[in-house]
């Protein structure tokens, strides 16, 4: 069985990628003007107190020495300590992770719920009026900036018609589904058009293939035909597009979380950049990077479920 070896090899490939992410983030946060010590101490800082705090935070050392310390800590699974929250970075980041993860998964589910039926209907009415309407409406959704779309949904469904909360996260799973609906829908509406278009064109393509023609002539009912022979083949390309878009999804959640006040990684990274909380920024970038990589890996693995012919070497 090649599968475990495939996963192991992919994992090995991750090491240089992660090192790259770490290095870039480490250098970039230090390139932004404004150092953490002067932001923390504010206008009343004197040169002596600033120097003392810089020493305390290790900011007075050469940048390569700082990077070395950071790498050494990382190798031991230590992400350092947040300068603002005064707690281990990992703790702060992991606390915020469930909200972002739930939002992302929720958005993916919603976008599939939107795109699959629409794609099937559009494909069945290829170039007909229904197809045209579906395609133009979804293009419109794609053309709108997410934060603007989000604000409009907020005004419509939380202020004018108070069906959903304006902001927040909730305590129980049910409450969270309710709280995160509008932000997830915002992301889903932005993601669905791309998925829908891919799915629609592959469905049209698959529908014309000989095996579908055969299934149709042998008298398979249309519903079964679509489910069993068309969608399964058509979803391959959509899953690829989805996998590629996960990175965008995570990035998009930064904006959306701030619009909807979701206590996730997105709002944390913004406040951390404001405060120049270097360890937290580095931690989040690393977590985001890892997530994108892991999800891409998972996408590859999903192929095997959708298409038994796929093997891993």
């Amino acid at each position: 069985m090649n599968f475990p070896r495939f996963v192991a090899r992919r994992m090995m490939q991750l090491v240089p990628v992660i090192f790259g992410i770490v290095l870039i983030v480490f250098l970039f946060v230090r390139l932004i003007p404004g150092d953490p010590a002067s932001i923390m101490l504010g206008a009343y800082a004197t040169p002596e107190t600033l120097a003392a705090l810089r020493t305390d935070l290790g900011l007075d050392r050469p940048i390569w020495a700082q990077f070395g310390i950071f790498l050494g800590d990382l190798a031991q699974g230590q992400f350092g300590s947040s300068m603002v929250y005064r707690r281990p970075v990992l703790e702060v980041v992991l606390e915020r992770m469930p909200a972002t993860m739930m939002l992302t998964v929720y958005a993916v589910v919603l976008s599939l719920l939107i795109c699959v039926p629409l794609a099937v209907i559009a494909a069945l009415h290829n170039n007909g009026l229904v197809d045209q309407i579906i395609r133009s409406v979804t293009t419109l959704a794609l053309a709108m900036p997410t934060f603007w779309l989000g604000l409009n949904l907020l005004i419509l469904f939380a202020v004018i018609m108070p069906l959903f909360p304006v902001a927040g996260y909730g305590a129980t799973f049910g409450q969270r589904l309710w709280h995160l609906f509008l932000p997830a829908l915002t992301i889903a509406l932005h993601l669905a058009p791309t998925l829908m278009r891919t799915l629609r064109s592959t469905i049209i393509e698959v529908m014309q293939s000989p095996h579908v023609e055969f299934a149709r002539t042998k008298g398979l009912p249309p519903g079964k035909l679509i489910r069993r022979h068309v969608l399964r083949n058509g979803l391959m390309a959509t899953v690829t597009i989805l996998g590629v878009n996960i990175g965008w999804l995570m990035g998009g959640s930064v904006v959306i979380e701030n619009v909807f006040n979701v206590p996730g990684l997105g709002s944390l990274i913004i406040s951390s950049v404001d405060a120049r909380d270097y360890p937290v920024i580095q931690g989040i970038a690393l977590v985001f990077g890892l997530l994108v990589i892991v999800i891409n890996l998972a996408t590859d693995l999903v192929y095997a479920i959708l298409d038994p012919r796929v093997t891993y070497e």
């Binding site: 932001i39 009343y44 004197t46 606390e95 304006v166 206590p263």
Partner: protein, 529 residues
């Protein structure tokens, strides 16, 4: 004079007499903040209120705190040696029931209140106070500025603390009301460690922290051992994190919360008509100002140009447009009417013709062009900049507004790499001595090079240094009046306005107020039903 009856000034005038403060004076001060007819009502004990706040608490360790909303919450669970009165003008006893100051103004001796207890029931001792001060003055502290004149602390006996300054500073006691000196329990902090203490604090304030759900709510419960018998009135307070101010107002209207800590100005009017909601406004001890850099812009080194800039600005119109009238034009270098000795007597009125005439007399009659840094994302700064740009254009000054990310904005400003910069500064102790070093002194003198502007006035520096240790209140008042007179004739900064904040409560909430320092004291709050 308004400050003649000021407790601190009076007792420093006496210089040595120990002053025991009566509970009567205390409760009267507490009542004075109750709005209107509510003052006639008797506070009721019990119940719970929910307060919507636009930011979460970062950490409960005061040593590492510098954001307003976190320290607003810390103030409810921690006790200090002294506390300021609701109007910020006077000092009141707290964990210390009395204190005396030596004749030279350098040695403060505090008598701790025997009934003061932490939330775990243990007494507040002199060792705890010493531990707190020593810790807050360590070099990684964010609150070092709250310890002027190098105080050294000794625990003389369990109930007596002696603080010695290297030089007299009349305003020193006022710093003891700030969060840097929130008294920590030495044994608790040493037992659980600093990190744990930052999440599960132990204080001796009116309330105890019961539950802290990050990003969501904090539940405070009454401290049964609170020294001020009968207080707090409320059994429980819920601090709810509602990031969006408009959302908070919606929740207030629908009764889901009892207090909205900050209300957008645009909503203040309509809230007045909302049933069951009482909006209120407080002018902050803060000034929005434009700091000119005398080194990089030759024109602003000319006092006539600076004065013309101030005169050309219709600052009342600015207050009306930006703050919907909630605020006032700044007529003094002091940070607001709540600051001691503040006077509007030397204020400069809007007069476009006079401004034009001054420009014509100056060395730059044709005007000049300058870049103005503002922190991006700061709505008030952005709107103020638009008005400033428009009005200064009338006297030939072209302003190029440059919104800059806040961290970068601060680093450019504090590094002196700017031409003009918009800033919002504040006074947290109610005494002008707090801001003098920053606004007027050089770096060598412990200041910040006159707000990094390179402005220098020897007279102001000399007087403000002397005023710091002046124990005669009348003399001190005259000195600070002189500082204001000189500053307003020199216009070292283009003082714009003192902003305000609007907050709102449900009508069953009584005794709630936001102080000019943006602090609140929930121990005074009660509800009628």
């Amino acid at each position: 004079m308004a400050y003649a009856g000021h407790w601190l000034e009076r007792r420093l005038g006496a210089a040595t007499a120990a002053t025991a403060l009566s509970a009567v004076a205390l409760s009267m001060a507490a009542l004075s903040i109750l709005p209107g007819d509510a003052a006639a009502q008797t506070p009721v004990r019990g119940g719970k209120i929910v307060i919507a706040r636009s930011a979460d608490i970062t950490v409960w360790d005061p040593k590492y705190t510098n954001d307003t909303l976190t320290l607003q919450a810390q103030g409810q669970i921690y006790g200090n040696l002294l506390q300021s009165s609701p109007d910020g003008k006077t000092l009141q006893p707290s964990l210390a029931e009395s204190y005396e100051v030596s004749a030279d103004g350098r040695v403060y001796t505090f008598k701790l209140r025997p009934t003061a207890k932490f939330c775990d029931g243990s007494p507040v001792t002199a060792e705890d106070v010493k531990f707190t001060f020593d810790r807050a003055m360590e070099k990684d502290s964010r609150v070092l500025w709250q310890f002027p004149n190098k105080p050294s602390v000794e625990a003389l006996d369990p109930a007596t603390v002696r603080i010695t300054l290297d030089k007299a500073n009349v305003a020193f006691a006022r710093y003891l009301t700030l969060w840097g000196t929130h008294v920590l329990s030495k044994s608790y902090t040493e037992k659980v460690g600093v990190q744990e203490m930052g999440q599960k604090p132990l204080g001796s304030g009116a309330f105890c922290m019961d539950r802290f759900v990050k990003g969501q709510v904090t539940i405070l419960k009454r401290n049964p051992g609170y020294w001020d018998t009968g207080k707090p009135y409320l059994d429980e307070v819920e601090l709810r994190f509602v990031q969006d101010e408009n959302a908070a107002v919606l929740q207030l209207r629908s009764g889901q919360v009892d207090v909205a800590m900050s209300v957008p100005f645009s909503q203040a009017e309509s809230l007045k008509r909302a049933p069951g909601v009482v909006p209120a406004m407080v002018t902050l001890d803060a000034t929005a100002a434009i700091v000119p850099n005398l080194k990089t812009v030759p024109a602003v080194a000319d006092v006539k140009v600076r004065k013309a800039m101030l005169m050309a600005l219709d600052r009342q119109a600015m207050v009306d447009a930006l703050l919907f009238g909630n605020g006032e034009p700044a007529q003094s270098p002091f940070y607001g009417p709540g600051v001691l000795f503040h006077t509007r007597d030397f204020g400069i009125k809007h007069d476009l013709e006079a401004a034009k005439a001054l420009m014509a007399e100056s060395a730059f009659p044709k005007g000049f062009t300058a870049k103005m840094l503002i922190p991006s994302g700061d709505e008030m700064a952005g709107q103020a900049a638009v008005i400033v740009k428009d009005q200064l254009a009338k006297i030939g000054i072209t302003i190029d507004v440059q919104p800059t990310e806040s961290g970068t904005w601060f680093s450019l400003w504090s590094g002196g790499n700017f031409e003009l910069v918009y800033k919002l500064g504040s006074n947290l102790v109610g005494d002008p001595a707090q801001n003098m070093p920053f606004d007027f002194w050089s770096v060598e003198e412990g200041g910040r090079n006159a707000a990094f502007s390179s402005y220098r006035n020897e007279e102001i520096v000399k007087i403000s240094k002397a005023a710091e240790g002046e124990t005669d209140p009348a003399k001190r008042a005259a000195m600070y009046r002189e500082v204001q007179r000189i500053a307003m004739s020199e216009v070292p900064q283009i003082y714009l306005f003192h902003p305000s904040v609007v907050f709102a409560t449900r009508d069953h909430v009584k005794g709630f107020a936001v102080y000019p320092t943006r602090m609140v004291r929930l121990s005074d709050v009660w509800r009628t039903k």
